[in-house]
């Protein structure tokens, strides 16, 4: 095999410019794919991390039908205290669950004593909420971050704070209607201003769970949802399936399931963007395959055509068809390896360069997000394997043609 490789290298060196151009094309393709995977992948991971770690959690449990009506924050579809206790027991017994946070979600009127607007609120137990969505505190752009909030305090969404001209320490009043239709009001001190992010709940205010119960005159331990944080997000699918089976088995008197559980993917519209990124990555990979296929095939077809007489000679002096086939396939393989190697080196250098340059970007209302591209070794290996595999595949037809060539016809070729 060493001699076949040696001869293949010599043959590639015979047309240096062509070899170089083809390698450059493969290199460019590899660089484009790896950089796209690293940049888009990092963006995706960052956005998913932000959505799950500062807002949604990895999974959420609701009363059956709650999610379909979530826009109106229906209090009559809350989980009752006993129901919450059953879910709590299941979650406490699941080792894959790192933390969970019961939430009461409500709509209210927000008054600064001169103006009134409506507000969506997320009532939480601060300790559980911080354990479930640890990046929530980082969204507090003004005010104290430690401890999230105390009873009687509110985290006001940035847009409402600006529109209603309220600042840290100001007192506001929340007025809410409870399940029975009676209205109640309660003063709150503004503890912090919360940065808005894309997605459901991204522009909601936050109050203490016990304050919400007082405001809504709820005596039971009822809640709207349970946000769940997993030990490892990579195992979300099996944990989700397990919990779905456990919760799905709990039925009401009519024999219908009481609970519904969703992954963050079902809850956030960003999942569609993430899927689009995956689709674009796939599309770019297909383009890379096409580039490698066409360029290598072109080079190898030319190589066979230009060396017909030589093929006739080596066939005549006894080179078996299999060896002729391997000679040309190794040429394609080496072209793929060379282009891929250079492409990987350039890509890794570019990724390191981008990280060193601390490039920031804006996404929607979020400003100054830091671009921190990374690439997994598995992605590099997959792309390299695809390129080299396609290079070998692209050489197959010309190599096969060369190996099947009639020596007499080939020797007569001028």
């Amino acid at each position: 095999m060493g001699n076949v490789i040696k001869l293949a290298i010599r043959n590639l060196q015979r047309y240096k410019r062509r070899t170089l151009l083809t390698s450059v094309l493969i290199t460019l393709g590899v660089v484009a794919v790896l950089l796209f995977i690293s940049v888009s992948g990092s963006f995706k991971t960052m956005m998913i991390g932000q959505i799950t770690d500062s807002m949604l959690g990895h999974l959420q449990v609701h009363h059956k039908g709650y999610l379909a009506s979530i826009d109106s924050l229906p209090l009559d579809l809350n989980l009752q205290g006993k129901q919450f206790a059953r879910v709590k027991k299941i979650l406490d017994g699941n080792e894959a669950v790192a933390a969970y946070s019961p939430r009461l979600r409500l709509g209210a009127m927000f008054s600064n004593f001169t103006e009134t607007t409506n507000i969506r609120l997320n009532a939480v137990n601060p300790e559980q909420e911080m354990a479930t969505v640890p990046m929530l505190a980082e969204r507090i752009i003004k005010g104290k971050k430690e401890g999230l909030l105390e009873k009687g305090e509110i985290l006001v969404p940035e847009l409402i704070a600006r529109g209603m001209k309220v600042g840290i320490g100001d007192t506001i009043v929340l007025v809410a209607t409870n399940k029975d239709g009676s209205v109640n009001g309660q003063p709150f001190v503004v503890r912090g201003i919360l940065e808005g992010i894309s997605g459901p709940g991204g522009r909601d205010g936050v109050i203490h769970l016990s304050d919400a119960r007082t405001l809504l005159r709820i005596e039971d331990n009822e809640i709207s949802e349970i946000a769940i944080r997993l030990q490892n997000m990579d195992f979300m699918a099996p944990v989700f399936a397990g919990l779905q089976e456990q919760l799905g088995s709990i039925k009401n008197k009519a024999g219908k399931p009481v609970f519904e559980i969703h992954t963050w993917e079902k809850l956030s519209p960003f999942f569609n963007i993430a899927r689009m990124i995956d689709l674009m990555t796939l599309f770019i990979r297909i383009m890379l395959v096409a580039i490698v296929l066409v360029s290598i095939m072109n080079v190898m077809i030319m190589a066979v055509y230009e060396r017909i007489n030589e093929i006739g000679t080596i066939a005549a002096i006894g080179t078996v068809p299999g060896k002729i086939l391997s000679l040309f396939m190794v040429e394609g393989f080496l072209l793929g390896v060379f282009g891929t190697f250079i492409g990987v080196v350039i890509s890794l250098a570019a990724i390191a360069g981008m990280n060193a340059a601390h490039i920031s970007f804006d996404f929607g209302r979020q400003k100054g997000l830091l671009l921190a591209p990374t690439i997994a070794a598995s992605d590099v290996l997959t792309v390299a394997a695809i390129v080299i595999g396609i290079a070998v595949l692209a050489s197959l037809q010309p190599a096969w043609k060369a190996s099947r060539m009639d020596p007499i016809t080939a020797l007569r070729h001028v």
Binding site: N3, V4, L7, R10, N11, Q13, R14, N309, E310, G312, T313, I314, A315, A316, I317, G318, T319, V320, P321, G322, K323, P407, I408, L411
Partner: protein
């Protein structure tokens, strides 16, 4: 035992609907270590006959025994193996591999065809290059040597595997008279030294006058067998 023996040998090509008989029932025998030439006008069937002897083209009918083996019915793979083991080729255009040095060109059949161990094949290549007077050019590429030198290298390549039979199709056609004579002399020396049979297909009187046996072909038939004795 004869190196080549043909009995009732025929070759027919199909050109569209027309069957063209290139060789029409030829019989001949070539003895070991002989210097033989097929001559005849263009289209007489010399090259076809040489191709059949070289296992490059199977006969349509008849028997053709080369180095003791009936070569009719050999598969592509078997024919390639047989050529690599028993037959050397010398071409009109030298047909050296341009990306390999003189040494590597001669070494090629031992590496890619017969898989000799490194030390043994290097010794053999050096021996052959010495024999054809190309030792001092062994690191040069074909593009850096003259036509006569290329043909010397081709002779060395044909003999390096200890081939019993060397087929040479117009080996002197692209050489000047002086160089052609040297190549013929070289092949005669090689025949003497290694006991190899050389079969030529040629128009060149320089070659013809040096061979011992001449087979004259016309329209695919063997007209006569002559000896220079």
């Amino acid at each position: 035992m004869a190196v080549v023996e043909a009995r009732g040998l025929e070759k027919t090509y199909q050109a569209g609907d027309i069957a063209v008989k290139a060789i029409r029932g030829v019989d001949f025998t070539i003895e070991p270590a002989s210097f033989v030439s097929f001559i005849g006008p263009s289209g007489s069937g010399k090259s076809t006959l040489l191709n059949m002897i070289g296992c490059l083209d199977p006969p349509t009918r008849g028997t053709l025994t080369v180095v003791g083996k009936n070569i009719a019915g050999l598969s592509r793979q078997e024919a390639a193996r047989f050529r690599g083991e028993h037959i050397g080729f010398i071409f009109q255009d030298f047909n050296l591999i341009p990306v390999l040095t003189v040494f590597e060109n001669v070494e090629y059949p031992l590496v890619m065809v017969q898989n000799w161990p490194k030390q043994k094949r290097r010794e053999r290549v050096r021996e052959l290059l010495q024999a054809v007077g190309m030792s001092d050019q062994s690191n040069k590429y074909p593009g850096q040597i003259s036509g006569g030198q290329k043909q010397r290298v081709a002779v060395a390549r044909a003999l390096v595997t200890n081939a019993k039979l060397v087929l040479a199709d117009e080996p002197t056609a692209n050489l000047d008279r002086k160089t052609a004579n040297r190549i013929i002399e070289l092949m005669q020396e090689m025949r003497t030294e290694f006991g190899t049979t050389f079969i030529f297909s040629t128009h060149d009187p320089k070659v013809v006058k040096n061979v011992e046996t001449i087979f004259t072909l016309e329209d695919g038939r063997l007209l006569e067998e002559g000896n220079h004795g």
